[in-house]
């Protein structure tokens, strides 16, 4: 899942097919074999992978900073839940309401802030992240709002009524897989290349007729839509919405993980989402959350995320650890001998020409022997 490869070599393609098949097999194994709690957590993380994908798109493809992705997930969840409860939308289609709401809010935030330096988008999205739980509490009240609908699997699936968590997992996974596939296709094409051009060389992109502002606006709206869809999907396994689900720390943690694990790969969204969901579970299982003082600090989620952010900032200059892998791979490619003999011959000729040019340049740059000329004149 590379962004800027026009063609993927056949062995890599086969490896991807094998890995995807293994992932599907593993998902089936977990869905049918694990406890309902684990399957529900897995559904949540698969849904959040979409929001992470949106964040990777913004951070690594467009070079923008969004600190309100958690709030956009919340917007999507709110829209999806109320689409079912208030407008009678079938539960299977409710994530689409989340998608629309997320896209709309993303665009509203982006329209004014993208005309300004990049810091403004960070500023507005952080404000959104802080404000959203307060608004949700005001609008929906202190108590959780239940979803008026249930997810009963069709008879052809063979999934029993009491195993609705399995059906919910498949629904979430299907939505996520299709969306990630479509977005990945988009990023591999001209739009993805234009995104990267607008990130690295905005002036050059403008010179080639690309509207950088419009492109970034589409990117933020797409990212918001992915977050909103993730919020709608979260309603499938969770079945209720509550203002405590979307504190501003959620957005910052998502940003930390997207920044650390991202790179030019949308697939890095999956480990990010897994860590976000399963790290607190792991900390609770070990009773680390109840420890206080210095030891408690080092074992806390906040410290882990802070360390991750600082390490990413220092070690990768904010480009993410996947970027280190990419640059190592590129170095390796540069060192590798050319397999094609014709290309190799052309390269050898070019190197020879370059050597000759260097020699000529050295001769031209050599200072004239003024002393001997002066002697000759005398």
């Amino acid at each position: 899942m590379r962004a800027n490869d026009a063609t993927t070599p056949a062995p890599v393609r086969v490896a991807w097919i094998v890995a995807s098949a293994a992932l599907v097999a593993l998902s089936l194994r977990v869905a049918y074999g694990a406890t309902p709690k684990i399957v529900t957590d897995l559904s949540n993380s698969v849904a959040l992978a979409l929001a992470f994908g949106g964040l990777v798109l913004l951070t690594h493809y467009l070079g923008l900073l969004s600190l309100g992705q958690g709030a956009l997930v919340g917007v999507g969840a709110y829209a999806a839940l109320h689409a079912v409860n208030d407008f009678g939308v079938p539960v299977v289609w409710m994530p689409i309401a989340g998608l629309l709401a997320g896209t709309l809010v993303g665009a509203i935030v982006a329209i004014p802030s993208l005309r300004l330096p990049k810091a403004y988008l960070a500023l507005l999205t952080l404000s959104l992240a802080v404000a959203y739980p307060i608004v949700l509490k005001q609008v929906d009240g202190n108590l959780p709002v239940l979803l008026h609908g249930s997810f009963v699997a069709p008879s052809w699936t063979g999934i029993a009524e009491e195993d609705e968590h399995i059906w919910e997992f498949f629904l979430v996974a299907s939505y996520t897989a299709v969306t990630l596939f479509l977005v990945q296709g988009l990023l591999r094409g001209p739009i993805g290349r234009a995104f990267i051009a607008s990130r690295d060389e905005p002036e050059a992109a403008r010179a080639f007729g690309v509207s950088v502002y419009r492109l970034r606006l589409y990117g933020v709206a797409l990212s918001g839509g992915m977050a909103g869809l993730a919020g709608g999907l979260l309603m499938i396994p969770t079945n209720f919405n509550d203002f405590t689900h979307y504190p501003e720390e959620l957005s910052i943690k998502m940003f930390a993980l997207a920044m650390a694990l991202g790179g030019s790969r949308l697939i890095s969204a999956i480990p990010g989402a897994m860590i976000l969901i399963f790290l607190p579970v792991w900390l609770i299982d070990r009773n680390w959350v109840v420890e206080y003082g210095w030891v408690g600090l080092f074992k806390s989620e906040g410290f882990i995320y802070a360390a991750l952010l600082l390490a990413t900032a220092y070690l990768t200059r904010g480009k993410g650890f996947m970027h280190l892998l990419d640059s190592r791979k590129h170095r390796k490619l540069r060192r590798a001998p050319l397999l094609n003999s014709r290309a190799s011959m052309v390269a050898d000729r070019l190197v020879a020409i370059e050597d000759r040019v260097t020699q000529i340049e050295e001769l031209v740059d050599e200072p004239p022997d003024i002393g001997s000329r002066q002697n000759a004149t005398d």
């Binding site: 951070t59 070079g63 900073l65 600190l67 509203i108 935030v109 329209i111 004014p112 802030s113 993208l114 005309r115 300004l116 330096p117 990049k118 810091a119 403004y120 960070a122 500023l123 507005l124 952080l126 404000s127 959104l128 802080v130 404000a131 307060i134 608004v135 509490k137 005001q138 905005p202 950088v212 501003e248 720390e249 910052i252 943690k253 940003f255 930390a256 920044m259 420890e291 206080y292 003082g293 210095w294 408690g296 600090l297 806390s300 989620e301 906040g302 410290f303 995320y305 802070a306 360390a307 991750l308 952010l309 600082l310 990413t312 900032a313 220092y314 990768t316 200059r317 904010g318 480009k319």
Partner: protein
């Protein structure tokens, strides 16, 4: 009329806190180009330090089981001053150790300030817990400590907080205009390369800028703690208003950011007071909407539009 006057008076204390945070954010952004998103958390952390100083040895405020460092309880003013000094050291340390090595990359720098944001939040929660604590105001705060003007009550502590903040920020403005250090700071914010060429030690000036910003934040936290109490999330709301106010100054004008702080507090109080469907919590959303509208209509804030604000 008296109700309007009362609401105007009520907005003073909050306005001072928003203005102080906005000035701190603008100062840092103007000099280094880094949006310090941890400004609110730094202020919150220093308020806890003031609380430790003001409370003295207390089982509820133990700092790694060692409360002897603090000794007897300090008066609130001294506690706030102590917190300001510690905050300034933390601010300078942050610039030198965390920001300077990565300041060339804005994404990394913002990531680092967010790391600091999470770190300070986690530290406070794990050292002092998440419960609400009371610091008190350095100004008289009883029911009789007020002036009745036009049927409205003007509380002494609101006036004290406002005058203190105006005084400190005025002093800062004078320092910037009348001293060599201020001249150096203005030169660095205007042109870093040029400043280096004329012999100004830019790194020291930037460190001073971060230290001053942290000190202003600490003062804001210490003063407003008497109104909103001390808890780990006390600065979230203030940060949003501070950022909004800083935006009015185009993130580069501390003077306009200062005015923006009072303007947003005034707006907050009036909207919460006169519009029936907006309560005090939801005013935050209206501030956000105002911010979006301001950015939409006048992207440079109240600053004149210049080359700097064209799309990058």
């Amino acid at each position: 009329m008296s109700l309007f006057l009362q609401r105007t008076f009520d907005s003073l204390a909050n306005g001072s806190a928003y203005a102080a945070l906005a000035v701190a954010i603008s100062m840092v952004f103007r000099s280094t180009g880094v949006l310090n998103l941890a400004q609110g958390q730094l202020a919150m952390f220093s308020t806890y330090i003031a609380l430790v100083f003001a409370t003295g040895p207390s089982p509820y405020l133990k700092f790694s089981s060692n409360t002897d460092v603090v000794g007897a309880a300090w008066p609130i003013w001294a506690a706030i001053l102590g917190a300001i000094v510690i905050s300034m050291v933390i601010g300078a340390f942050t610039e030198r150790v965390i920001i300077r090595p990565i300041s060339a990359d804005p994404v990394a720098a913002v990531g680092a300030t967010l790391g600091l944001y999470l770190l300070l939040g986690a530290f406070v929660r794990k050292q002092w817990g998440g419960r609400t604590m009371f610091l008190g105001s350095p100004f008289p705060q009883t029911v009789d400590d007020r002036w009745d003007i036009g049927g409205a009550r003007l509380w002494h502590d609101s006036v004290g907080i406002t005058l203190t903040m105006i005084g400190v920020l005025g002093l800062l403005a004078i320092l910037q205009r009348r001293t060599k250090a201020g001249l150096a700071f203005r030169a660095v914010t205007s042109n870093q390369t040029g400043s280096v060429m004329v012999g100004i030690r830019v790194s020291r000036v930037l460190m001073l800028g971060w230290a001053l910003a942290a000190g202003i934040g600490a003062l804001a936290g210490g003063l407003i703690a008497g109104e909103i109490n001390v808890r780990p999330d006390m600065m979230g709301r203030l940060l949003v208003f501070g950022l909004a106010a800083a935006t009015l100054g185009g993130l580069r004008s501390p003077a306009l950011a200062f005015i923006g702080g009072y303007l947003f507090a005034f707006l907050e109080t009036m909207l919460g007071g006169y519009v029936s469907f907006i309560d005090s919590q939801v005013t935050l959303v209206w501030a956000l909407l105002v911010l979006i509208i301001v950015l939409f209509v006048r992207p440079s804030g109240l600053l004149p539009r210049t080359e700097t604000w064209r799309q990058r």
